[in-house]
Symmetry: none
Subunit: 286 residues, 2 copies
């Protein structure tokens, strides 16, 4: 095993600690109190916190063996991000080992999740959920990949409210009949991540004309389609691997269900209880 040990700022300080003069020892103590946080502070701030002069700070890092403060800051910062492979290698080259690939994959997944839940559009969530409770009937629509998500979303909603339906996934005649039947007090959740099929835009337009409000779950590449939706939520699906990742989308539909359930209050809770009972009964016979 020839790998060079992972040098940390802490270990370097420890090595010199005994030989440090008073002012610099104060600095050392200060730095050690903010483990890994050094990079977030300037040398001047550090000096202030430690109650010593700026000159002392400069000398301190020189004595530790750095050429200048910037080097120490780099070390502190980089030894922290050591774990995240996403930034270690340039984005286009393939990770070598399975471990690396998996770490990279995990990283991307987490990032998509974070982006999803930091999105500003979530401020509308309350209103959307209320609408989902108020709506007489809820319709879910999704083609292709989006269809899988739509059907799973439906399953979640029928846990606590009735009249939640999946619109048929075949374009054409049948779809038109369903749309004709939509009413303003219905609500439609359209799931349309890329690759979107061409007729989606027409269908959404048709739905809009029925005055049934549309919640449109899509990805950041959505174009004009969102014009027909009352609410549009963009969920990142991009991935440097094969296929887009619907992980965040799945996650979000569940959040939507959870929040809607919360808003629905008593009536939803009752429904859920019923379902639970039915499940238990089914289990005995299945």
């Amino acid at each position: 095993m020839t790998h060079k040990k992972h040098i940390t700022l802490e270990s370097i300080i420890a090595k010199h600690y005994d030989a440090l003069p008073t002012a610099e020892r104060k600095l050392a103590d200060t730095v050690l109190e903010f483990p890994g946080e050094l990079a977030a502070y300037t040398a001047t701030e550090l000096a202030e916190i430690a109650g010593v002069s700026k000159a002392a700070a400069t000398r301190f890092f020189k004595r530790l063996g750095f050429n200048h403060f910037e080097e120490a800051r780099r070390l502190a910062r980089d030894s922290k991000n050591w774990g995240s492979p996403l930034y270690l290698q340039s984005k286009d080259e393939q990770p070598q080992s399975a471990d690396q690939r998996i770490a990279h994959y995990l990283d991307e997944e987490q990032q998509n999740l974070r982006k999803t839940y930091h999105s500003a559009t979530l401020s509308e969530l309350d209103v959307i959920c209320e609408q989902l409770v108020k709506a007489k009937r809820v319709w879910l629509l999704g083609f292709r990949n989006s269809h899988y998500i739509a059907s799973y979303a439906r399953w979640q909603f029928i846990q606590f409210r009735s009249d939640v339906h999946l619109l048929p996934a075949n374009a054409g005649e049948t779809m038109a009949e369903y749309i004709a039947d939509l009413r303003p007090d219905d609500m439609v959740i359209v799931i349309g991540v890329r690759r979107r099929v061409d007729p989606l835009i027409n269908i959404m337009q048709a739905i809009k004309q029925t005055k049934a409000p549309i919640l449109y779950l899509t990805d950041p590449t959505a174009g004009k389609t969102s014009a027909y939706a009352r609410w549009t939520i963009k969920i990142p699906v991009s991935s440097s691997f094969l296929f887009d990742s619907y992980t965040a989308l799945m996650s979000f539909t569940r959040l939507l269900a959870i929040e809607t359930f919360r808003v629905s209050g008593e009536s939803g809770r009752k429904h859920l209880k019923n379902i639970e009972r039915i499940h238990d009964t089914l289990n005995e016979f299945e």
Copy 2:
């Protein structure tokens, strides 16, 4: 509205995100990629990473409402120490604000993902993927919730290999016929997260007798069922919210597909190309 909101850099960015011009959006993406780490970088470095000019960086932070970059850096540094909401409040009390609930939710999702990919069982991944490539036919089986995952997983696999089938989700006669047809050079992926249905164990037993190897994707509550599987991978689904979370499970099936594709090499690549072509053609007419 009097509740004090926990303002984070992320939430501020999210609020402005849609209105940002290209260069500044690149910066936004870059910042979001370094959660909480902003304080460790200078505006210049940020601009370099994002591939935009320093001027853009200055404008970016001004647009977000800061007086200067230093303010943003301060916020990032200080709000980092707020820590993750998961540990801030005791588990049983409900988070108050929607923001908090969402943060908590995100935290759980990420944790499930991390647990999934840090699991030791992943060492078998190579072997599993090879088997998935070698297998004459691949069968996917899942009841109830697991059925949604199974059907999505199938869709991913048919992108690059043929003969991938969904076993019917209705217990009873039909299932028996399919199982009787299984051969040792087939492979079966059983998805069985709770609540598992009773007959699953019998079905898995029956499959085992056909000598077709079983990859069993389940959750940590799996009991004796795993006895019949050649490989068992436990994926956490637990959640303090309503319903279990299949986010990590979805994510994992995609990884499985990706890695299998990688192993399959040329033949898979060819198949994928065909599919791409067919998709494009379909798009024109749909």
